[in-house]
Symmetry: C2
Subunit: 323 residues, 2 copies
């Protein structure tokens, strides 16, 4: 029997309709196109990318460890971060920052193949840029990754993207509104409720001292998985170095499990964090959402903002725990 | 300068970032894969599809004009349309209907190549099924089309899909909430305001007595276009045969303009209508949204529910008016 599921954070709906007998290898992956031009993310080719805004030094023998450069095809341009918000059928200036984070000097290494210490450096680079965005007055720092051509990555060399936004993304805004509603109605933190229930349930994949990784209850794609930060009331900004390491490790474990389940799985992930401005929201736990690129967004998804997903999250959790 | 745009209906944001010098032929289209198995939508192969639920007779010499059959891979199953809505981290039964509307007996004809009278019959078939869905007690009838492999169509033979849903789609729910908010704040119909402004603006593409076609102000994809029903307070259900013909004609004109702009453009469209149950919403104008399948949904779109679109709607309107 297919199922309808409502994501408690966004109000988004999923129709979970598993096809009988579906197995990981039933999802075909389009191979990546081969690049012919020299890679601007490789050591020695730094001049092919815009001048770097951040460089973390590498270990002995490495040219560098992580670099951040402005995106050559930026969706936003520098400008005044204070938007005059009255854009009813009127465009507002598209100001912000759009940067590329080169995650490793090694061309052929995927994020999932990096050492935890290297992933920690990726996080550190993001944190430093985020602080720069905050100092400049931006509203939100979006950190996301596209892995694989089907997931929108135009280059093979492992990288992620950073945006400084002059607005709070609609999806985040909805999450904040819904945590407020839940507090009013139930007198409780929505995230704490989710963590308590998912921590004992069939969608749990991995748990560490501070993190819980689960198959999303109402996913947009098969194998969609989320990593939640468990402590209540502590923003992303407050993470210690040790906690960043713990996060790097659970992320790597999850990526490796996904890769063993579906080799070279194309995916997107992004962080949902507290805004750069204003007080920390009472009931917010930062988290990472990982959305594989397996099924297409088509008429139903666009028209309803509900998603038809051919794999039950509980089955996805079984696959990933086994991997 | 790129732009940020807020869709007044959904609150969705777009970053409109036109690349300099972008032209229609810069968007590459992946050709459709060729089918080898016999087409279950062709006359003579009716036995290959599930038994029809509706057939409209054709003109002399035609086996039939339009057929509706249950979807072989239905996302929903028949059942009780009254959902016990308390699905907090609990799945609800995935009940509903999921049907395929075969738009023509001719295998090679795209919707854009049909006669207006044939498109009118497609609408008539949808209306008849919608009335059947209402009689069965469903909440919403979603009519959508996927055209082209990139837009999720698995078969070339022209068809659309119908779903009887036991819930109001989240996107519709948001539209209703926002029209109510607009009424409270501005004392006016949000759609009437949009129609008045877009009817004189640079995004207008076509206008007839009862319809306005515009390039969407805050699109999710390049060349996204919407057709609005102009009369205030008249539901989709109240359309006369003549008004259905007028709609068929403006839809065909728009599809042909899109095809001349980008030959064989893959696209999705869907209708946003009043719900099947309850009173007609005070300030709702039904409309069609057409979303081409040109750019990918990736980390940014998933993470923010904002869309990076490389073509300004005003430019899209110029292309489409010229075509």
């Amino acid at each position: 029997m297919p199922e309808i599921r409502e994501d408690p954070l966004s109000g988004r709906l999923s129709l979970v309709a598993p096809e009988r007998g579906r197995r990981p290898h039933d999802f075909r992956i389009t191979p990546e196109s081969v690049e012919t031009s020299p890679c601007p993310f490789c050591p020695g080719n730094e001049h092919l990318a815009p001048p770097e805004v951040l460089r973390l030094e590498g270990e002995a023998g490495e040219p560098w460890s992580v670099r951040v450069v402005p995106n050559k095809f930026a969706a936003l341009e520098p400008g005044n971060p204070e938007l005059p918000w009255s854009g009813f059928l009127e465009p507002l200036p598209g100001v912000g920052r759009h940067e590329v984070l080169i995650e490793t000097p090694e061309h052929e290494k995927a994020l999932a193949e990096l050492k935890p210490s290297q992933v920690r450096r990726v996080l550190e680079a993001f944190c430093r840029r985020k602080e720069a965005f905050r100092a400049e007055g931006w509203c939100y720092a979006l950190f996301f990754k596209n892995h694989g051509a089907r997931a929108g990555a135009s280059r093979r060399h492992s990288h992620s993207q950073l945006l400084a936004l002059p607005f709070l993304p609609p999806l985040l805004r909805r999450e904040f509104v819904r945590t407020e509603e839940f507090r009013r109605e139930k007198g409780r933190c929505l995230f704490c409720e989710i963590l308590e229930r998912e921590g004992q349930g069939p969608r749990k994949i991995l748990e560490t001292e501070n993190f819980l990784a689960v198959a999303a209850f109402a996913p947009r794609q098969p194998l969609e998985t989320w990593i939640f930060w468990k402590p209540h009331g502590r923003p992303f900004d407050s993470l210690t170095e040790k906690e960043q390491e713990e996060f790097a490790e659970i992320l790597l474990t999850l990526l490796q499990a996904l890769n063993r389940t579906l080799p070279d799985l194309p995916y997107n992930f992004f962080l949902h964090l507290e805004p750069l401005r204003g007080p920390f929201p009472e009931d917010f736990h930062w988290h990472l959402e990982l959305v594989p690129a397996l099924t297409r967004v088509a008429g139903f998804e666009w028209g309803a903002e509900a998603y038809i997903v051919p794999l039950a999250p509980e089955e996805a959790a079984v696959w990933l725990k086994r991997a």
